[in-house]
Amino acid sequence: MSALTDLTVAEIRDGFRAGEFSAREVAEAFNANVSAAKALNAFIVETPEHALAAADQADKDRAAGSLKPLSGVPIGMKDLFCTTGVQTTAASQILEGFTPPYESTVSQKLWDAGAGMLGKLNLDQFAMGSSNETSYFGNVISPWRRGDGDNAALAPGGSSGGSSAAIAARLCPAATGTDTGGSIRQPAAFTGITGIKPTYGRCSRWGIIAFASSLDQAGPMAHSVRDCAIMLEAMAGFDPKDSTSLDLPVPLWEAGLSSDLRGKKVGIPKEYRVEGLDADVARVWDDGIAWLKDAGAEIVEVSLPHSKYALPAYYIIAPAEASSNLARYDGVRYGLRDLPDGANLQDMYAATRAAGFGPEVKRRIIIGTYVLSAGFYDAYYTQAQKVRTLMAQDFAKAFEGCDVILAPTTPSAAFALGENVDDPLKMYLNDVFAVPASLAGLPAMSVPGGLSKDGLPLGLQIIGPAFDEQAVLNAGLAIEERAGFKARPDKWW
């Protein structure tokens, strides 16, 4: 039998049910991998006792015949989800030591489904970043390395970079992520794993530390499409505590999985075929098209004419919302307080925020404050929201002629840490293919498509119409079955 830590969520669930191993054995195996992987810096806090307690409960439940959907499965929790009694920081100094007295809806649903927590996963500070280099708790190092003997430390993607690195390195079989402008899909693509951002509103935002509320959406990251379906079923569902939560039943996505795409149309957005597109990315995209054809789908060209405006619109809307959301960190109610000698209340606010926020967070707060300030609001913010309407209309029109859209997830494979930090614009361009679906609130996933010439994973992105996660998962499954992606990083950590 292969190592327990090599198993998928479905294999752990089913093997545990069949009595092939105990939940405690699974939790102990993953706990051991977590504690032996400090070099990756994927976890901010490790919670082996939480994983063991859930495992012991699962073993009891199995004996009593009262199994839950995720009984026996330990997972990683992005440190953006508030967890009762366990430090929650958003990877920022301003929240160091913050211990929530309440549990986020999504994490509570996962515990209610029987899952256990291996620890809180590192991320870009306040989920602002594409490389996990903005965390106050240090960079996450990707377990992947280029195949040419170059030992440069690579970015695991971001913002869910602790989640992606931990799954790729077999420290957890699945993890939560959040996606504001690609933060689930881009790290999944960089590390050869699978991740889905559902329709905006599927997963409750309650208890998730806010970045940009009209875009933030939780979703699972895992080794397979099936695992994503299993996790998403546990995470999704109506929550009266989130005013934008969708009041819809949660579909049985796992039971609905089918890679037979006969009668389905797959749209290829011509605007994504940009000049100078990386040759490896183009090759994997072409492979994806061939695989979906092989699965029975018809390939059609679609047009998303406002695609080139997605990133500029995003970099107005997301910082604007962030500047408002992050106003709450004032040194009064929780987190860091910096009170210089003789400082008044206003000085304390400014000193606390200067000391507690990292440079990228400050940059975005400043941009957001500027675009919302008197005299500039209409020129920037209102214009961006109008362009966002046009982008959503582009997608609606495209989906009149196709069931899902296939595109690359990222414009390149993972880059080295430090390679893009001096140029914020260059870093932002990483999310050029991911941001449009975020602005339109649509379900989108990344599945591994192949390797670059350097031996690094490349992802294929499937975007679906609102509420149709099933179509996205099914196209993802068709690709997964044909891509035969088995590559994994050699253990060096």
Partner: protein, 95 residues
């Protein structure tokens, strides 16, 4: 539009971010680069287009006007940097 040192310092002050002149000066070219880049949105013809307010059509729900939470003062104060006598404590604001 472009920003200068005075504007960056004003915005930092509005955002309650203490900032040295050197840090503010370093932000000037960065912000101008980003602002210049986002200004390409001005090319888009948005005549008659409504700004987006809800990405997925949804109506705000109303609930009964009843108490659903509360009586958790100590929990609310548990993470405060400074709390006394059941209150958050801040530097004196009234002379």
């Amino acid at each position: 539009m472009s920003v200068d040192l005075t504007t960056v310092k004003k915005i930092a002050s509005l955002a309650r971010l203490a900032m040295s002149d050197d840090d503010a000066q370093a932000l000037v070219p960065e912000l101008n680069g980003i602002l210049h880049w986002v200004e390409q949105l001005g090319e888009v013809d948005v005549t008659g287009v409504e700004p987006m307010t809800a990405v997925i059509p949804n109506t705000l729900r109303l609930r009964d006007d009843i108490v659903t939470d509360g009586d958790v003062r100590d929990k609310v104060l548990a993470n405060a940097p400074q709390a006394e006598h059941g209150f958050f404590t801040v530097p004196k604001v009234i002379e």
